[in-house]
Subunit: 293 residues, 2 copies
């Protein structure tokens, strides 16, 4: 059980778990009747990129476990160049914690890792939340060279988290305002910070995106074997992983509800954190074998 | 205020309202703090086609008003051959009731009528729920000649509501079982029944679908002017009005959340009535100018 005063990603201490040849950095806080929810992070994101406005309300009903995959933040090892490699580390980490069944929230790259883990070992997850992500064989996945993204990523005037405000949120005043509030919330954590990702992390993860994009075989057949109750979430104006990928996931996963937010980009869960955490709590509270909640 | 024993579409008496040259049939029941919710019905549907598993839980928090448009059920007049004509009757009816602002649930054809009413008089609605419907200029709207539909519509062995079980639900055992439960619920009403729609109603409404499908001008520009907080709902396997139409609505309406159900066809709201009424109640309970709830 956690100490109540640390039930926030603003203050929760980073912990380290040795499994096989790696040491994984993670944070674990919160309590309640719900099953633990493991959070799998986006491109170049670390433990410090999880919005406390999302993690903390969820932690009031269950443990949340934030995880740095191999080579990210303060986890040791090399960043795998495939989603399958990342999924293998994810399973090792949960094995190390002694968790043989939990819920998962996979965001962006983390959503791909969650899908792969669910295929590699279905019993590891009970319910899945997949936000701003894409199926294997999806389209237009994280092409940072696109003008809509490159102009922010190459803007030398953007400092620290400011680039996240630009690329995770839609180019409307309301979405950008939500993005400003988001990066203020991230900045509240000022001790025990993770190591920011460098160009090597980015390059390996981009390689994983390219491999994920080029699916062998036809269609989205892999998805038909993932029977977990799943909640697919996206922003309608996602430039990083377009919402059409969420459509394809929902059309091919046999047991997935789709929830799409207006006026939002890749970071819809942060922009509409009150709605998202309420929807996620209702979804996770269900014991039904069916996804609708 | 309604009498509690009639707070169900199984038992609520049909009422009649004279406005201008027409007399409209309707049912009004339920009570609570919420704004009244007007229900706009699907192709050839009457007051008797509203599932009490949907209407009744919603009626526990607000009045619900079920409405037969002109020429349908026991409403007088000719069925308009355009959605705009139906919207005009809808506005006349609400004027006759003295309601100048309410919430709306438009299902299928009713969702088109709701969109048109919102454009013609934006102040008439506060929040909108659009289920299994399409924007003006949408694709593959109610083509009953498609083999997937025609084989049921032309099947002489299907009696009464049985055809609804086939065409409103997906061809899976779970969805068909939900469809069987749905038509049992409809059949519980056995007095004060509406007049079933004949071929003349169907022909006029089909003409309205064809007119709606062929939008003048480009794209879905009309939708950008509908700023009402909107909840768009669909089943992922809708053969009557495919889910792509819900995608296009959500992409072009500035303030719409999309909720898509798995394993469901056109009648997703009836199949997942517990989830749908919970989601609808949460959406309608919100006073936010933004759709997310």
């Amino acid at each position: 059980m956690s100490i109540p005063t640390t039930d926030s990603n603003t203050t929760a201490p980073t912990q380290f778990l040795r499994v096989r040849n790696e040491t994984y950095a993670y944070r674990r806080f919160g309590s309640g009747r719900g099953r633990p929810l493991v959070f799998l992070q986006h491109f170049v994101g670390t433990l410090d990129n999880w919005d406390p406005a999302v993690t903390d309300p969820i932690a009031s009903e269950r443990e949340v476990i934030l995880f740095d995959n191999a080579g990210v933040g303060r986890s040791t090892g090399k960043v795998p160049t495939t989603v399958a490699g990342m999924a293998s580390h994810g399973l090792d980490f949960l094995d190390g914690l002694g968790l043989d069944n939990c819920d998962v929230l996979g965001f962006s790259l983390g959503g791909m890792v969650a899908q792969q883990m669910a295929q590699d070992r279905p019993s590891i997850f009970r319910r899945m939340i997949l936000v701003g992500t894409a199926p294997r064989g999806g389209q237009d996945i994280m092409h940072l060279e696109k003008p809509s993204l490159a102009r922010h990523l190459g803007d030398p005037t953007l400092k620290g988290y400011e680039v996240l405000q630009k690329i995770l949120f839609a180019p409307t005043s309301s979405s950008q305002a939500a993005g400003g509030a988001f990066i203020e919330r991230l900045a509240r954590r000022n001790e025990d910070l993770d190591t920011p990702s460098g160009a090597d992390v980015a390059a390996a993860q981009i390689a994983a995106f390219r491999e994920w994009e080029h699916a062998p075989g036809a269609g989205f057949g892999d998805l038909k074997g993932i029977h977990h109750p799943t909640l697919v979430v996206n922003g309608i104006h996602d430039e990083m992983i377009p919402v059409s990928n969420s459509y394809r996931m929902t059309e091919n996963l046999p047991n997935a509800v789709l929830l799409v937010y207006p006026d939002a980009g890749h970071g819809s869960l942060f922009q509409f954190h009150e709605s998202f955490t309420r929807q996620a709590a209702a979804f996770l509270a269900s014991d039904s074998p069916f996804a609708p909640y």
